[in-house]
């Protein structure tokens, strides 16, 4: 059977990860254009809830119950089981999110199947019997369009590439039992720690308000957080701010942090060095507040306010809060 597959990722509370709703929407659109089947697969100790949610996006979803996933690292187990479901000679393409779990499962599945990977999709089309995948390379200087050389492949998809849209009618969920023992070693999850301070995940945020060295310290980040809250956005940061311990690494945007594509990127006290720029320059709108008119960010922002963040920021808060319908 030829077709497309979507790997459903499961959140800590057993629901479907938001990225999977976007990946499913993208794959369903492609499958329709290509007149191909599209099937979802959820591998979890209890896949029911996530599979049912995935089925609101896709015509058919396999719910594979794998008890080991309850207290073991997910990705290698999922790759192992998904490799077992795929038919050896199938002409198939697998779609998964480009976040940590998606990358892990894609890399492992690629090694187990020998199938290639096109990573970090920002747009997809269908041509000559397979997907063509756009990705942003060299820090956004270039967008490449690539294809697989074979009739199989694995695609990882960035957040915010499409807006998730349920299908007109919900699909079916089929329970699947795992066949045989897991071939890969499992890794125990001894403890899952939720940090009280864990902020909204920046990869999926529509609006990001980010602070850099110019924010000056943890107190300065309170202003960043307030503005983010007023805009309904998430808080991001540069490496300098993270290294200084002002904000956790999970919020870092850039070369060694996360790559984001929000609708609005509001950069506060960020100079815009290349290492940061590569993480955010595909944002639809970039607005910056910076004291230095010669900062690199002034070259690629859509709007830059030259001024003191601690004067402009509070004024911005006042304006935002004064808007009808706010707070």
């Amino acid at each position: 059977m030829a077709g497309l597959w979507v790997i459903g990722e499961v959140t800590a509370d057993g629901g479907l990860a938001r990225i999977s709703t976007e990946v499913a929407t993208l794959a369903r659109t492609l499958a329709k254009a290509a007149d191909q089947d599209v099937t979802g697969i959820v591998v979890a100790a209890d896949p029911k809830a996530a599979a049912a949610e995935l089925a609101t996006y896709l015509p058919r979803v396999l719910a594979l119950t794998e008890p080991a996933a309850a207290d073991h690292a997910w990705a290698m187990i999922a790759a192992d089981r998904i490799a077992g479901v795929l038919e050896p000679d199938a002409k198939e393409f697998i779609f998964v999110g480009a976040g940590p779990d998606g990358r892990d499962v894609a890399g492992a599945l690629s090694a187990l199947t020998g199938w290639g990977i096109l990573a970090n999709t920002t747009a997809a089309a269908w041509a000559d019997g397979g997907p063509t995948i756009d990705m942003s390379v060299f820090g956004g200087k270039l967008t490449t369009t690539s294809a697989f050389t074979d009739a199989t492949g694995i695609v990882t998809v960035r957040p915010n590439v499409v807006t998730a849209e349920p299908a007109a009618s919900a699909g079916s969920v089929e329970d699947v039992k795992p066949v045989g023992d897991l071939k890969q070693p499992v890794v125990s999850v001894v403890e899952r720690v939720a940090e009280a301070t864990a902020a909204a995940p920046i990869e999926e945020a529509r609006i990001i308000v980010a602070g850099g060295r110019g924010v000056g310290g943890p107190d300065g980040f309170k202003l960043v957080e307030e503005i983010a809250e007023a805009l309904g956005g998430a808080v991001g940061a540069t490496r300098a701010a993270v290294d200084a311990g002002w904000i956790p690494y999970a919020q870092q945007i850039g070369q060694t942090g996360k790559i984001v594509k929000p609708q609005l990127y509001l950069a506060l006290g960020i100079s815009g060095a290349i290492q940061h720029k590569v993480g955010m320059q595909t944002a639809e709108t970039v607005v910056a507040v910076n004291r230095d008119p010669d900062a690199p960010i002034a070259e690629f922002a859509d709007l830059v306010v030259i001024g003191d963040l601690f004067e402009v920021g509070p004024a911005l808060l006042t304006e935002l809060r004064a808007r009808p319908g706010s707070g």
């Binding site: 490449t144 050389t149 890794v187 942090g257 609708q263 402009v312 006042t318």
Partner: protein, 262 residues
């Protein structure tokens, strides 16, 4: 303990000269190479671990013939020796080939841990370490913010960054751990380190030395191809606002409203 760190020489992102060659592949000759930034965090973590537990660090790089120039920088930070997997047949390797070759290079080595960076600045896919682990059937612990080996028990604990905090993972060694910046700032090579690196061994290995059939890897069997590339449309000219804070703030909000963001 014995630690292997996978180190990739990449075009220096700060130099800004990356480009594609006529074949649609990265032109590795166009820009000076540096150690991939995320691999430096892995190397730093490895150096700290052998400082605490004893042992040695070996770096493994799959790279063109000029790879050792970059590998010396990693040796100058304190790694003990290098293995340079290099072969003309490897030009144009995709993720599948890269994982296979690195796995083959690791097969002959003795180690407790293999450390790798979360992704590379030239490829950004972040998929090779999971592939290497799967091929070698090594326990795979990714996105580490903390690595705690128990050498007596032969086990390792890792804090894996999760969307809501972190998971504590545990597995027997040998294992493969993917490292993040949260492990700590990489050290700068000391002058002594730079001098010492000159005489450290970098063993060159061809595909035949690691038991890989040259016809099974590289550009000739690549699973993906670049069809074309375009420069993204340039952003419109930047609007510069130099007004007093309250006026500037109003302009920002109006601008956002025009774009239907607020």
């Amino acid at each position: 303990m014995q630690i292997v760190v996978l180190v990739k020489p990449v075009p220096d992102p700060a130099a800004g000269g990356e480009r594609l060659g006529a074949d649609g592949r990265l032109d590795r000759a166009a820009t000076p190479a540096v150690v991939n930034a995320n691999d430096e965090y892995a190397l730093e973590a490895a150096l700290k671990l052998v400082e605490a537990h004893g042992g040695e660090v070996t770096i493994v790089s799959m790279a063109p013939s000029n790879g050792p120039e970059t590998m010396r920088k990693a040796l100058a930070m304190g790694a003990h020796r290098g293995i340079h997997v290099t072969d003309d047949a490897l030009a144009g390797s995709d993720h599948v080939s890269t994982a296979r070759v690195l796995a083959a290079a690791l097969k002959d080595l003795e180690y407790d841990l293999v450390l790798a960076g979360a992704d590379t600045s030239d490829g950004l896919a972040g998929v090779v370490p999971a592939g290497v682990a799967a091929l070698l059937r090594l326990p795979y612990l990714s996105y580490a913010a903390k690595i705690e080996p128990d050498t007596d028990a032969g086990r390792v604990r890792v804090r894996r960054i999760s969307p809501t905090g972190y998971d504590v993972l545990e597995a027997p060694m040998p294992a493969l751990v993917v490292c993040t910046q949260a492990l700590g700032e990489p050290r700068y090579p000391s002058l002594k380190g730079i001098m010492a690196a000159r005489s450290k061994e970098i063993a060159a290995k061809a595909l035949s030395d690691i038991g890989v059939d040259a016809a099974s890897v590289g550009g000739a069997v690549a699973t993906t191809k670049v069809l074309g590339s375009t420069a993204p449309p340039p952003r419109a000219a930047t609007r510069v606002v130099r007004e007093p804070p309250d006026v500037a703030a109003r302009e920002v909000v109006e601008f956002l409203a025009q774009r239907r963001i607020v």
